[in-house]
Symmetry: C2
Subunit: 203 residues, 2 copies
C-alpha cells in the first residue's frame, strides 16, 4: 500500500501534478501538497491563479526571444545596455545565469535550441534569420557565441561562426572555465564571470 | 543581481509562491517555475484549479479527524477495519506512515497537535473530548498512543494515559528504539537508552 492511498482524491490529484515537475518524486510531491493544506485560502487562490494565467502573462521578446512581460524584455528595453554586443544563447532560461554574473551589459539573442541533425533540428528551426535581421542595422560590433560547452553546443557555435563570418562583426566564443558537459542553466555566477571575461576570437 | 531579476513579473510571482513551500529554496523555486513554462495549457489550468479548490475539496473526517473526501475518511468508512483498536496520532499527515507499514488494520484518532504548555496549547486545544465520545460506545478495546518519541510527544502520551486510565480500555505506547536498517555507530544516546530499556526476550 502506497503512503498516500489513504489521501482524499483532491490531494492525490494535487500530488500527481507536483510529481510532473523535474526532480520531484513521490515523497517530495506529497510533502509539498500536504504543506499547502496549511496555507491560508488567499495564498492558495493566488498560487492557483498564477499557474492558470502563466501562459497568458509571460510573453517572448520580439527582439531577442527572451521571456518578457510584454512585447520587449526588460533587457532590450533598458536604456543602459550596450547595444553593440549580442550574446547568443540556446534558451531564454539561460539568460538569468549570465545576468547574475554581473559582467555583461550587452544584449542577448535566444536561438530557441541548438542544432540536433539526428532529431531533425536544423538551422531553419533556430532563430537565425532573426539574428541576421538584427545585424542589418550595423549597430552590432560583436557576437558572443554562448551555446553550451558540449558536442551539440560546440557544433552549433561552429555553424554560427561560419554563418556570420561575412556579417562584418567580431565573433567570439565564451571561454573555457565552464565545466565541459554541464548544463548552462545551472552554472554558478563566478564560473560564468570567468567564461565571459576569457572569451576568445572564434577561429 | 539575483538570477531571476530579469524574469517577467508573472514568473517572479510564481517563483515566490514556490519558495513558500517547505524545503524549496530560490534555485529550486526558479527551476520548478521555469519547468512550468513548458507545460501544455490544459495541465497548467488543471494544476491551478486544484490549488485554488484545495480547501473546498479536502475535508476533515467527523469521526477521527483524518483528511477526507467528505464527512468520513476512507479508513473510518472501510468495512474491513478493526473497530476495537484506535491509534492516537498528533496530525493527520502521520496516518499514511502507519498505513504504509501494512501492519495496522484498526482506526485512528487525530489529536490535532500535542501539548505545548509554554505556547498555550493545553488539553482543551486537542481533540480529547471527541476521543472520550468515541470510547462511549464500548466497542473500543485498545488505545495505542502514537505521539512522537520526543519530549512533548512523551508528555502528551503520559497525559492521555492518565486521562483515559478509567475508560476501561487497554492503553499502549508504540515502541521506541533503534530504527530498522540504521548503523548503530551513529545512534544517539537517548535512542540507545530507550532501545536498551525496552529490550525483550529473544525468541
Amino acid at each position: 500500500m502506497s503512503a498516500n492511498d489513504s489521501y482524499p482524491e483532491a490531494l492525490r490529484r494535487l500530488v500527481a501534478y507536483f510529481q510532473r515537475l523535474p526532480g520531484v518524486g513521490g515523497r517530495t510531491a506529497s510533502r509539498l501538497a500536504l504543506a499547502l493544506l496549511d496555507w491560508p485560502e488567499e495564498l492558495l487562490q493566488g498560487f492557483g491563479q498564477e499557474l492558470a494565467a502563466l501562459r497568458a502573462n509571460v510573453h517572448w521578446c520580439h527582439e531577442c526571444g527572451n521571456l518578457a512581460d510584454g512585447e520587449r524584455c526588460r533587457i532590450c528595453a533598458a536604456p543602459d545596455r550596450d547595444r553593440s554586443l549580442i550574446c547568443v544563447v540556446e534558451v531564454a532560461t539561460q539568460i538569468p545565469v549570465f545576468e547574475s554574473s554581473g559582467c555583461y551589459r550587452g544584449l542577448y539573442h535566444v536561438l530557441g535550441g541548438r542544432l540536433l541533425p539526428l532529431e531533425g533540428v536544423g538551422p531553419e528551426s533556430l532563430r537565425i534569420a532573426e539574428l541576421h535581421d538584427r545585424l542589418q542595422g550595423g549597430e552590432v560590433a560583436e557576437l558572443i557565441l554562448a551555446t553550451s560547452p558540449d558536442v551539440e553546443g560546440e557544433a552549433t557555435a561552429h555553424f554560427l561562426a561560419a554563418e556570420f563570418a561575412e556579417a562584418g562583426v567580431r565573433i567570439t566564443r565564451i571561454a573555457a572555465g565552464v565545466p565541459v558537459g554541464a548544463d548552462l542553466s545551472y552554472a554558478d555566477a563566478a564560473t560564468m564571470a570567468r567564461a565571459l571575461g576569457g572569451r576568445r576570437s572564434f577561429d
